[in-house]
Symmetry: C2
Subunit: 407 residues, 2 copies
């Protein structure tokens, strides 16, 4: 497996485009399209927030109606189409249908995603105009993929793409590419077919629908569901994974190389979201080892990454060890605190808690806490469970961005 340039248009047979409908007040690109002429096996996970955006409901319904077969997706930024009642559902359907009609696809063979402000009706004239402007831009160039990746951003400061090429166990060469967006309202708990980060992954590998969905759910739990910017799960979180089989050959039912490649793409995309968290100045990675089981490890890793007190301390470069231990205590994870070890540094360089007691390494730890990327390693010494979470610091910038988002 090797990382290659590009995103969703890197795999064979996938076209992409990013265009403008005038939905975003900034005048930036706000309509994105991904399209494959060959129909794809598609897998999806959506937000578990009980307030689901209209686009989430419409896309789930299309997937059910078609048995997981899609040609692509149309996406708008600037408006989440959530808390918009029946009108919102009608608008989401119309978005999908408009794109499908122009592309010569059946109308429920297109998915639809939105991201932006909650509680406002989609400006449908601008949306229609945007789709009409964007369809002619569809291209399989890497640049077109990048323009799509730009068009899905909101408060993000950079576009987020990643792709790998790899060789399947049987020797076939395939490509997996993805794009994502997300900066605030990031704390996904996405679950199978029912999880605002928007993420789109394409592959030319032919993959059976059931296996595709299984892989997506497993790796969502290990990647996107392990990141948190602010602990607030969105109403719109969606990952769509498309397999168009353009690489040829029989459908994959199980392939370790494919899984490794998909996991890598999802991990890198999730990392880019954490790195671009609203107001973020530092990436925080928390590795928990020695938990009773993986679930306990996840609980502890997520509790630390979500703690406002830990996040503020990371912003200040302050090795406030007590807050780390307290967050573990609040996580629901089983822990014998007299065996607790916590280290700071990319290679667990400095031990700040040993046998449940704070060490005298605070000064040495402080230098690692001041780095652009801060890594905490927590050893519970009570089993073999492990998990890694990613997030960012809580900063003046976060407060500034979020104290005046709609007005």
């Amino acid at each position: 497996m090797k990382a290659i340039d590009g995103g969703v248009s890197a795999p064979a047979g996938f076209k992409a485009a990013g265009g403008k409908g005038g939905i975003r007040k900034s005048g930036k690109k706000d309509i994105a399209l991904i399209f494959s002429e060959r129909i794809c096996n598609a897998a999806a996970v959506f937000t578990t927030n009980r307030l689901k955006a209209a686009c989430v409901l419409v896309t789930s319904s299309h997937l059910r109606q078609t048995g997981g077969r899609l040609h692509g997706v149309v996406i708008n930024s600037g408006n989440a189409n959530a808390l918009t009642g029946k009108q919102g559902l009608q608008d989401a359907r119309e978005m999908a249908y408009t794109a499908a009609r122009m592309l010569g696809a059946k109308r429920n063979h297109m998915a639809v995603c939105s991201t932006g402000i909650i509680g406002e009706m989609l400006p449908m004239e601008k949306v229609r105009h945007g789709i009409e402007q964007t369809v002619p831009l569809l291209s399989d160039s890497l640049k077109a993929g990048s323009q799509a990746a730009e068009a899905i951003l909101t408060t993000d400061t950079t576009r987020k793409e990643f792709a790998v090429s790899l060789t399947l166990s049987d020797g076939r060469k395939v490509t997996i590419g993805g794009m994502t967006k997300g900066s605030g309202m990031i704390s996904p708990k996405m679950a199978g077919l029912h999880a605002t980060t928007l993420t789109f992954i394409t592959t030319d590998a032919p993959v059976g629908t059931r296996y595709l969905q299984g892989c997506l759910e497993k790796f969502t739990d290990q990647t996107f569901n392990m990141i948190s910017v602010d602990g607030d799960q969105s109403t719109n979180d969606t990952i769509l994974l498309f397999s168009n089989g353009a690489a040829g050959g029989p459908e994959i039912r199980k392939d370790a190389n494919f899984e490794e490649g998909l996991r890598r793409v999802m991990w890198e995309l999730a990392r880019k979201v954490a790195l671009d968290g609203e107001g973020e100045t530092k990436l925080l990675t928390v590795r928990v080892e020695g938990a009773r089981n993986d679930r306990d490890a996840s609980l502890a890793a997520l509790s630390i990454i979500k703690s406002n007190l830990v996040k503020s301390a990371v912003f200040g470069g302050d090795p406030n060890v007590g807050r780390i231990a307290s967050a573990i205590g609040n996580s629901g994870c089983t822990a014998d605190f007299s065996r607790l070890e916590v280290c700071v540094g990319p290679c667990a360089d400095v031990k700040i808690i040993s046998n449940g007691l704070v060490t005298d390494q605070k000064k040495a730890a402080a230098s690692f806490m001041k780095e652009r990327e801060v890594t905490l390693t927590v050893r519970l010494n009570g089993g073999k469970g492990s998990a890694t979470s990613m997030g960012c610091d809580l900063t003046y910038g976060y407060v500034r961005i979020n104290s005046a988002y709609t007005t």
Copy 2:
């Protein structure tokens, strides 16, 4: 019932004192004592954080040993005595024993509480010195109560006391007084005998231990467990409730007036904590009505009050209605969003969501969002459950205070 001046020394037979041991680097008062010559029936709730401070373990153990009988409590600020292993337990015991010895009480008849930095050993010489200096200051004056209320503060900006006098159903006149502290690491989930806000309540009413504990648990759920400053539950949260019976007469087994008085004292003290949240510029109160049941209402009210996005919007005076609805969706509460109503203002003045859709009252709402105290009323229109939570905005000040607490 009427509110009166004073705090823990307002009820008959309770003395209090606040003194200095030199534990807090600022040189502020850091040792507090509450003492009743008549032994008290005592009730307590403690943090449910699995990392419990040494003082929490020692006080629970004293309550078990004595069947809930105490003369009082010794408290230090500046150091939480948490994550301090066996030495911490020994130190907490010594604190209680030192106070008990000087006061002529049995050593397990004193409770012990700590608040401050986690992960440092108590400076026992200063603690001992502080207790020796403070015991002679014990007095039943209201001023002594206020000095105790000062000595338990950490990042708090004001001391927090409240007292009421009331008449029991049988005509006896009794007094309930309390003091509390808490500004950050505030998101209590305290539970019976096993819940860093420290709260101490005294009453001269004679109350049976079991009824006392029952009342304390019930009202903790309705008051302190409904406030959140930052979503981080402390390792030290404790409420101790002392009844010394100095008002005379038979023990109360059930009395509506007593319950009303106790609830009022706990509500006012909890409100003072929310009002003094770290970096707070606005008090946020969220009233949820029409939930399937009270538990669902609590889930929704707490989810809104804990949302960083809602808190940032309140700081900015921004009626970001979508975030409120999204927080309800994330709470686990059952809700039919097409029936959702949300109002802003102390008297539910302006409706910003009606039948699940955002209204055009954003401008009118914005003026209420800019007040010192912001009230949201959420009507789920799906049942009779209700709950009220209190918290504060997320501000630059919060980030500043918490980015450099230990260094």
